[in-house]
Each structure stands twice: as C-alpha cells, then as structure tokens.
Symmetry: D2
Subunit: 265 residues, 4 copies
C-alpha cells in the first residue's frame, strides 16, 4: 500500500535499540564483523544484519534480546551524555507549547550533549533549522558526534559560543533555554525572536521560576505560563494494575512566553 | 539574518489567537470588513490587518486584547469540537514516544473533531501522511473543515469508515487509537504497522488499561509501557510562587507498544 | 459485646451530618420543633429524633437525605469558617508527624475559625490540652462558638493575643503554626517547646518554605523535613475506575522540625 | 508553666530515635551497660542516660548522632516489620476520615507487624480499645512484642484468628481492613460496626478498588469515597527549593464508607 515508510530490515551501519527489559536497553550501531556486549553476554552483529526489526537475537549466554528500530525518544534517552538530559515528557510539551514544528527556526541554549538538540532538529525537519549554543568545548564535541550519528547535522548549526554575548540570529520562531542561569539570557532571547515567537525556559527550582517570571515581565513577553509535568508509570500486571511504587518525582519546571510588540523593540 | 521564518504581519484571512487573559482566548480568522465580538465588546478586523503579531487592539468597551500568531497547540485547544479532545501534554508525548515525526506515515482512529489529527498532520509534515478513521459523519465534516482551515488537508486522508473492519494501509510507522473500545482494533493495528512500528492507545480508565494490556500480549507487541501525565500549573505571583489550587486531575492513560515479528505475521 | 461505643440514636441536641450526595452535605444541630431546610426541601427534626444513625429522611420535595453521626473530619470540613481551613489530609499528617496524640500539650497559632483547633483538641483528649492564639476578635468568637458546639471547650484555651509577643506556655510537646508570616514566630516556638518537641508549619507558597527553612537553621531545630500531600479522588463507577477529572491541586506545604539542645537555650 | 508534658531526660529503658541524617535513623532502647552500634561506629548508652533529648553523642569514629524522643510516627516507620507497612500519610488520614479518635472502639485486620495497630492504639487512648486480627502466628508474636515495647498492650487485644470467620465484637466505631482480599471480610465488617460507623479499606491495586466498591454496594454502606494520597518531599536547600527527584509514587488506595441502616441489619 504505502511505500513511503522507512526500511524494515536491519542493515550494516543502522542504529538499533537493543532491549532486554523495560529498564535494560541500549542504543547501538550495527557494525559487520563486530560484537555487541552486555552483562547478559554477547552476539555478533552479523547475526542480525538482514533480519527484520522486531526480531530477537540470542546471546552466548542464551539470553534473548529484541532489536528495535529507534524512534526519536530513544535517542533522547540513550545517547551518551554527561549532564542531566531533558525527559521525553518535557521535550514533547516543548515542541507543542513552544511552537516548534516542521519548518521552524529555533535557537537552543545550552547544547549539552545534544539530546534535546536532536529532538528539535528531528521535528523542525529539513525545512527548519536549529542554532544551538554552548560555551563548553566538551558539549560542542559530544553534541557534534551525537548529531552526526543521527544524520541530523545538516539541520543544526552548533555554536561554541557564550550566549551571554547574545545570539547571532534574528526573527526566529522559538528560543529554548536550558542552562544554569536563564535570566541573563532573556534579553537576548527577546532580541532574537520574531514577534509572537515563543520562549521556553526549562529549570529545576522554584527560585528560578520566580526570577525568570520577574525578568519576563521587564521585557515585553505575554501569555506567560508556568507548569510542571509529572509522569506516573503504571504497573502492567494482570489483576494488579496500579501506579508504580517508585517514580521520578521531579525533573523541572517549564515556562512558556510569547514575544509582544514592546518598548524594548 | 534568517529569512525562512514565517510572516510577522497580520493579514486578511490569517488565523489569529486573540487573548484577553490566561483563561479567555479565542481562535479566529481575520476577515476584512467584519468584526470580532466577545463579552468584552468588539473590534473591526481591519484595525489589525497590516499590524505586527504581538500588537494590542482595543474593543469598543475599551478593553485591550492581544493578537498572537497561533502555534499548533493553540489549534489543539481552540478548534471547534464536540467531544473531549486530547491535551497538549498528552499529544506531545504521543509524538515522541509514539515514534511520530516528519516523514512518518500514521493511522489515527477515531478522528473526532480532528484536533489530534491536526497535530499529527502538522508534525509528519509534507513528507509524511496521516490516515484518520471515524464512522460518524459529523466527525468527518467537522474534522474536514478544521483541517482545511489549518491548511493541512493535503497531509491527511479522512476516512468515513468503521475501523472494526480493519485499516486499508500497510507498513505504517505508527497507529494512534483514541476511541471507546480500543481492544477490538488492536489486531487491525498489528496488521497495519510495519515491524518495529509503534502503537499508541489513549484511554481514560484503568479497566481499559488492563484490557488493552491483555490484548497486546495476545498479539506480538513488545516494549509495552503504560503511564499517565499529570500537569500542574504554577501560580506566577511575585513572592507567592506555588502550584495552582485547582487543576485537571486526570485526562487519560497512555499505552505505547511496538510491533514485533510474530506468529500472527 | 462492647458497651463503651457511643450512642447510635439521634437525639434532640445532637450534631448530625445530613448527606444528599458526595458534594452536598451539611452539619446541623437537631432541634426539636424546628426544621432543616436546603435547596431540596425541608424536614422536621422531630422526624429523626429517636431514629438510629444511618437512617434516611424524606423532605417535603420527596428527596431522601441520609443522617450520619459526624466524625471529627466532618467538623473540619463543615464548621462555619471565614478563611481557608486545613484539609483533613494535612490535619492527619500534622497529628502523626507533628507528635500530637492523647496527652499532648499543644500550642496553635493562629486559631482562625477553630477548625484545626477542634481536631487538635479532639486528639489530645482529656489528658492533653491545646493553647490557641489569634489576635482577631472575630477568630476568638467564631472558634469559641465552634469549640463549645463540639463539646471541646474544656480541652482548649483560646487566647485573643498577638503571638509576635511570644507564647505564655513552656515545655509543650508541639507547636503548630498556620498564619501569614510564620518566620517571626519561630523563635517563640523554640522557646515554648520542650526539648525534642515538634514544630509544624503549614504554608501555601514556596517562598515561605525557603524563609521558614532558613529561620529554622538559625535556631537549633533538627530533623527538618518539608513536603506536600496531594489527594487524588478516585471515580467509583463499575467498569470505569479512574482518577477524578477535577481535583484540588494544592493546599499548602508542611515543614516539620524538632527542637534540639542549642545555644539559644 | 505546664507540668503535664512528658519527661525531657533520656533514661535507662527509654526508647530513643537516633538520627544520622534524613535517611539514616534508628529506633533503639537505651540499656545501661550496653552499646549502640551502626555503620558509623558505636557509643555507650551510659553516655546519654541523664542527658536531655535533642542532645548529640559522638561515636568512636567521631560521627555525631542526635538523640530524639520518638513520636508515634517514628514507631510506624521504624519498628521491626516483615511486610510492607502503612505510611504515616495514610495512617493520618485513616484516623481522621476513619472516625478514629480518643475513646473509639476499633477493629483492625490484619495485624501484620503491629505498626498501624500501634498508631490506632495510641490515638484511641486509654478510653478506647483496638481489637486486631491476624491468623499468622508470626504476626501475633511480632506485634505483641512491638506493642509491649511501646507500652500500648493494655489498649489492644491481639487475636490469632482467621477473620473470614467473622469478628467477635459488635457496635464498634470503626473497622480498618489492610489485608490481601478485603472483599470477603466486608460482610463481617458490616456486622461488627455500629450504625454510622466507618469502614476503612487500604489496598494497593485498582482492581481491588473496584471489587471493594461493588461489595460495599451489596451491603448497606453509604458515603463511599475512594482516594489516594501522594506525598512529595521538598528539597530544602537555600536558593534551590524544589520537589525531590526521587519519590515513592504509590503506596495504596483508601476507601472510606459508613454503615447505613439496611436490609442486612
């Protein structure tokens, strides 16, 4: 019927998600002649090349692993990173409430490991573009490697630059701030956004929420909204459906605001 | 700098978001020669044509309204609908965990007012496509009107058809079910998905979570995960930052699962 | 078997809880010769005098109401009050984590309508005592009336007094603060508590949480813990069990701390 | 002022709470001539006998521990137990919504380690009584030891008995069920309660919530309410106030219902 869908066969060079169970899962690149190793043994990548996604492979310790084709959220959770990365729950709302979609021009600060960058790049698509800033060389190198691996490098410009000096772009559709002190960057975000463009700020503490809110009011931002998303996992067990006992209680708060015509303009 | 960003000027025929405050906001189409009316008075659309987004306009009752360029989530919340529609928090995670991105082929059932359809269509972009099913004529007509208004009709095929007879498409990347009894549709979803493709089910009750989980196990679905997202709004008031007193306590549960190579294949 | 249990028959002068449904319920005093009126009609109190608790009575509009014997939490929710009162979820934890039980000596500030006071008095019992402070005459009068109605006046001393001048008591087991600016009262709470005694502070905002925490560290309080309780109601409907759509998202934060031997002693 | 408060001096035989930090804390009995040992070293109990509560003591490894006088919730959390015990957040609401206070006659099933039993016994006080049932000998022995240690044995009757045969008491004020299959005990709870008395059921899964609800309707229970309490800990750090990253996502659901005059009577 449809022929536009992407390939269903595992190839040499494919990124794959290798799943043992809900908690143990790895993102890996299939490489002919090499092996995948984990605490449950190893298998040869050649065993899965040519197999369809959704296949199982048995390790030398007789443990079955399932091979999935990664979806964008797998990259968000599993690419190498040094610092805390944004969760999919937050990334999904950043797209929708942040006004980020195919064709959007987006600025992000800071880049970190490029995890959120990769999501932004994936969703602005080939007609959009992401400009991402970080002043740490490690962030530049890690994110460059991660984005190339995901084939997203043409949709992103990585800038090794201190954002406290401002952004190079103008009239972008969206700015996303995920850095230690977002307050001092808010004037630069205002300058870079087009009218009606959306600023998204992610931050872990209430103190930052208050400071960002106060700063947003000094500039002409409107429609300011703050919230947090709480994700509760549900135990799937026949006749014993219930929320999971353990959960992540907090990742961060999100503030969304839109640029108004203002005196600062 | 960038010239790819979308227009910043309100034009005749533009969709605009007209905002009084956090709760009172309307989606409207600018029509030269006509007026916008609300409980705070009216203004002539000609007053705002040619003005930049982010401008304010005063009604005949001297109330200021702000004119925003709508982002996708505004459509999700404000397009005409008869039944309950999916919230942006859930829609964002459906994109990320549901494996839906630019270029994806997606099946949705049911269409309803086309609110979630419009989000899916927006994010699969011009290289993807959404096939949406509903057997109610009203849903067909409302969603058609809504999608045309948003200029998304070329990215969606609306089907006035009972999904209990199965889907017409094969090897799609993702299936999203948001209907009263998702269980009986799961076999059809399995048949329509490509290997590794993701099924997303949205449902309000725990009873449905259990039934869907049991059904998913009968078919070869793997990596099954159930969760709910809780959104807490934060009161933005200087020196009085706190969660809001009132909140929506529950919208629904989400189950995500991926198609494995199975005996049913 | 047991004969210690309280009476099961509705008497003239009894306080009763009259229940229409989960949301519509009233606390009322049975008065021979008088009537109970609500929007669903009226009935004569004499109709229920001598009947057992758990009986139904029919109004002149043919609506059935159920007559319950009030439990302490009914008083917390239904006694007359002007300002926001503490919820049962918070009051229950204040008892347990606040170290308040039969025999305890407790100071409370401020009294308000006496709602929390009545719970504290009920649970310290005849061997304990509550000293409650408020500098507003209205609070004194309302709480006095409420406590007398509940027959708890002998277990409470209501003080019309500004707590910024300090408390009259020493070596109490527990101090509970529920007032606008708890910070300045913390030194007085320290002075009034016995060693190891527990201070409980209830406050709505994050800003207060931080200020109280900083103040507690200046004094010799240990084992400081802050938390909030979120209550989710569950919809009880056969085959449609789910959290309620609407909920109270926030009432307040609680801080518990215990008095250490300190330099301030 | 008051002289009714309990002693402030640590004595031979006292139960004490020994606190290293928020997570590491132990309940111990002071015994002259013996030592307290933990992973941070040991100290002689004689070092603290005669000292006031709130004092610090230094171990042989030069670590300071603080000695607190235990409050009832400390016992709930720290007495020896084999199975999952009720959390203070749930126990507090069971008191208030369960209609349990000084003077109440209460039935509990099952006893388990006696943790909740000890809270119930503490709060019904010397004028009330708790009858607790469990058919496991281990539960009988553990709870007996725990209750004697807390000096609460005169307020509790521990029964080594299978509750599926019914309760021995009648006209009690409250029944609390915390056992694997509460449904079959509901008829016995109805029989044992006085009119207007409150039944509390604690259970971990949604499936149980539905079954209990259905059973309660078969008997004449009214005012049925189901809920869950979620406790979020708050990180106390100057300039970085935020919910804790990790939390207990779920303990159990609570159902409260009151006995009505019914045909079963």
């Amino acid at each position: 019927m449809s022929t536009k869908g992407s390939s269903e066969t595992i190839e040499d060079g494919s990124d794959v998600l290798i799943v043992l169970d809900t908690r143990k899962r790895w993102l890996s690149k299939v490489t002919s002649g090499k092996q995948f190793h984990c605490h449950k043994g190893f298998f040869d990548f050649d065993q899965i090349i040519g197999q369809p996604y959704g296949s199982k492979v048995r390790t030398n310790k007789s443990i079955d692993l399932t091979i999935y084709k990664p979806i964008p959220s797998d990259f968000l959770q599993h690419i190498p990173h040094s610092s805390q990365i944004i969760y999919t729950k937050d990334a999904g709302l950043i797209l929708l409430n942040g006004g980020i979609h195919p064709g959007s021009l987006v600025i992000e600060a800071g880049t970190g490991s490029g995890a959120l960058t990769s999501i932004l790049a994936k969703y602005v698509g080939s007609e959009g573009h992401v400009y991402t800033y970080d002043n740490r060389e490690e962030a530049y190198n890690t994110s460059k490697k991660n984005l190339e691996r995901l084939g997203l490098e043409s949709q992103v410009t990585i800038k090794l630059k201190d954002v406290s000096e401002g952004f190079d772009e103008e009239k972008v559709d969206a700015v996303v701030l995920d850095l230690g002190d977002p307050c001092e960057i808010i004037p630069h975000a205002y300058a870079a956004l087009k009218l009606g463009g959306v600023l998204t700020v992610f931050m872990p503490t209430y103190n930052q929420v208050e400071r960002v809110y106060i700063k947003l009011q000094e500039y002409s931002f409107g429609d300011i909204e703050a919230l947090e998303l709480i994700l509760r996992g549900i135990q799937l067990k026949r006749n014993a459906i219930r929320p999971n006992t353990r959960m992540i209680g907090h990742t961060g708060f999100l503030i969304f605001a839109r640029k108004l015509l203002g005196e600062n303009e």
